[in-house]
């Protein structure tokens, strides 16, 4: 036993930029997080639509025309995938964030998730019904 202090902890560095790469759990998380980019972009599309709407029928027609393009289609498709992934991941996390205790027992997570899916379907059908 020497008298010198021999402890010298070794620190494993992790990359600040690609720590998630190749780890399925973290990749799923990042996929969920980047849905926000689609949502962000899409809200600006909606704002653009509002502006056109405020500027009168011609402006709005121009907006629709611009939308009706390969780029517009591609954009909407990409956003659709993003927002659906967002919905699924969001619903699957709610029981953890907002557990429900009924009497002694907690409502099983799957039931809460199921209820959300149900609500999602209803909302979507109503909008479709009103909108189409």
């Amino acid at each position: 036993m020497g008298e010198e202090m021999s402890s010298k902890p070794y620190i494993r560095e992790i990359s600040k930029t690609n720590w998630f790469y190749g780890q399925p759990r973290y990749m799923r998380y990042m996929a969920r997080e980047v849905t926000c980019i689609f949502i962000f972009a899409y809200t600006f599309l909606l704002i653009w639509a509002l502006r056109a709407l405020a500027n009168g029928p011609e402006a709005y027609q121009a907006f629709l025309a611009a939308l009706n393009s390969p780029l517009g289609i591609l954009f909407n498709l990409a956003v659709l995938v993003g927002v659906v992934y967002h919905s699924i991941s969001w619903f699957s996390l709610t029981p953890q964030a907002m557990p429900l205790q009924r009497g002694e027992e907690f409502v099983p997570g799957n039931l809460i998730i199921g209820a959300h899916y149900g609500g999602w379907a209803v909302v979507s059908l109503i909008v479709l019904f009103l909108g189409v």
Binding site: C36, I39, T43, I73, H116
Partner: protein
């Protein structure tokens, strides 16, 4: 310990997350139809204008856009961090300013309808 400024936006983030999860997929589906040239009723000028002219309609539109914006902005702030961009103050300011701009624009356009 340093107080965090995150709870200010977090409430909007959470509410926005929920609203977008329920609503956006179907709305995006509708604009996708529009992009494909099969503009659904909702996105025809007359229908949408009538909807936005009503104060309740305005409120709904404003709510959806406002919450989506702040939801996305806040999450973007975190995501930038996750990608290794550590200038949190700058990033936060940028995304929140963007969201604020969007909010103001939405407000004024709605007023003009």
């Amino acid at each position: 310990m340093a107080k965090s400024n995150k709870p200010i936006v977090w409430g909007l983030f959470a509410a926005g997350g929920t609203i977008t999860a329920f609503l956006l997929p179907v709305v995006v589906l509708l604009t996708l139809f529009a992009a494909l040239g099969m503009t659904p009723d909702l996105f025809t000028y007359e229908y949408l204008h009538a909807f936005a002219a009503n104060w309740l309609g305005k409120l709904v539109i404003f709510g959806v856009i406002f919450l989506s914006l702040w939801h996305a902005a806040h999450r973007l702030r975190i995501t930038m961090h996750d990608f290794g961009l550590r200038q949190d103050l700058w990033i936060a300011t940028t995304v929140y300013v963007l969201a604020a701009l969007g909010t103001i624009m939405t407000f004024f356009y709605l007023l003009r309808i």
